[in-house]
Amino acid sequence: MSPTLKFDYRKFPAEPSEAFPRRFSANRPVIPVTLINDGKRIKYLCLIDSGADLCIFHAEIGEQIGVEVEKGKLLDFSGISASNMKAYFHDIRIDVGGCEFDCYAGFSRDLDRLPYGVLGQQGFFDLFILMFDYSKERVELKPKNNVHAD
């Protein structure tokens, strides 16, 4: 039986605004994940984002594990505040809390404004049953059968 993985939300700095003058902190379901390619590994923070269709990471992170970014399959994609972004998709492996799985993931040079990689529906949400509890500041991941747990 696969274990349930539990991660506390991470707290990040936030800048107050006219709309939220006392907002100095942001709690987000950001977790450490290890990207694996050709035996090379890199651990990096990623946002669990139910609004993202796919998993997309910074191109520079891919290059650190030997991914030749622009040799991947091209996808033009949009976010809520930007469009005409490009990602190149590659087959890699991902380790989350000791659970390892294949992921067809995009690497993009257009994520500069984002501090984290993005774990989206295809490649992540389809592999886990997720429970978000904002008040407890915790997210729980229960791996499905196609995820290998150590």
């Binding site: 990040f12 700095p13 936030a14 902190s25 890199i42 946002l47 520079e60």
Partner: protein, 64 residues
């Protein structure tokens, strides 16, 4: 060792850089313009399992 998940103080003064955190996220072990540079600093600081993240130019509100 318990993992530190409160990154507010650690990251608040760092803008638009790649940051390597210690494996328990309690310390910054590298800051650079690239992941490679941050990882090299982490290695020099004898951190065997760093966690990378990027700091934004401004800590605004994200609606992706």
């Amino acid at each position: 060792m318990a993992e530190n998940t409160d990154l507010r103080e650690l990251l608040k003064e760092i803008s638009n850089k790649w940051v390597a955190l210690s494996s328990d996220s309690s310390r910054i072990v590298g800051v650079a313009d690239s992941p490679k540079g941050a990882l090299e600093q982490a290695k020099n600081n004898k951190e065997p399992d760093p966690i990378l993240t990027k700091t934004p130019e401004h800590y605004g509100t994200f609606i992706l």
